[in-house]
Amino acid sequence: MPAPDLLELLRRNDPARGLPAAHTEARERLRQAILAEQVPAQSRRASRRRLRLVLAAAVLALVLAAAGWGLQSSLLDTAETVRGDFAEVTATIPLPPGAAWDEPDLDENGWYGQEAALMTAQWQATCAWFEYWNEGDSAQRAEALAGFERLRATMQPRRPGAMEDEGGHHSSSLQAYDAAIAEMKRGEPTLVRQYLRANC
């Protein structure tokens, strides 16, 4: 095989192809967290400890951004509240045959955004419909596509000007879901499989 063809073959199979862009806000949050570190640090140990905390938050935001998520609220709920909300919202969201809800894995001492339950449920439902589509024949795929399109219709965009943890999906996340729907209609599994592997 000629070398240019070989490189083209590799580029065609680049695992980062189709990687959703990081949320602008998450990216900015990380930049700010890094810049908050004094250079050089006067007290390296204290500074590192503080930085780890800040970076953890920034990394979380990036992880969620890569996974197509935004933090949901600036007003926070307890784990108990999130569990209660989860039971309520999951009663309103259909899942494909054979799928079941997983109890949210929550830190009992943690604080969660007010939309955490809804977003977690939508995330689980997205995984379930994508798995159902990925594993199905044409009839099952049609059913899964319809199911996910209904779910997508319930996903609300974050209101303009809102901070990322005030609830709602970032526009890039919604665009990624729409792109997945377009691919599903063509029978193309790339984005669905990428999402499943990254998030489910």
Binding site: P15, V39, A67
Partner: protein, 181 residues
Amino acid sequence: MPEPRAQEARFNRLYERHFDAVRAYAWRRAPSLADEIVAETFLVAWRRLSDVPDDALPWLIGVARNVRANLHRSDRRRDALVQRLGPESTAEGDPLASVDERDALRGALAGLSEADREVLLLTAWDDLDRGQVARALGCSRANVAVRLFRARRRLADLLTGDGAGAANDRPLHGGVSNAGS
């Protein structure tokens, strides 16, 4: 020493220009650790800003390689939040043209040495030229040229069935602990 504002401005330019490339690099090699790798790589860049050369991407990728290796050795990879992204041994960022092509390529890449594979993938996926690959890996351009030639020839042989014993089920990543171990 440059003024703090000048340092910050330089870092901002670096961050804006190379964030996506570093993130893509990390995603290709260790998807479940990608965001940690990006964060720590740019943190190192900020702390060592005076060491960052004008052509910064190879330097950043070299740092990202080290960060990735360290994270693989660290308990931090078991962080629950990051685990949500899935096991690192799966090819999650794996939008391949076809299953057959993917499988063939995965097997062939696994038949390369880690060093040769990294040179090839830094060229093909990360779009570095030979000089940049050399700086990222800390070796000479001549060494890169040799590795690249060898890797291309070996990969072509493996893909056309002339190579022996290459096919296996190792995942399609050029990572230290993925395809290379």
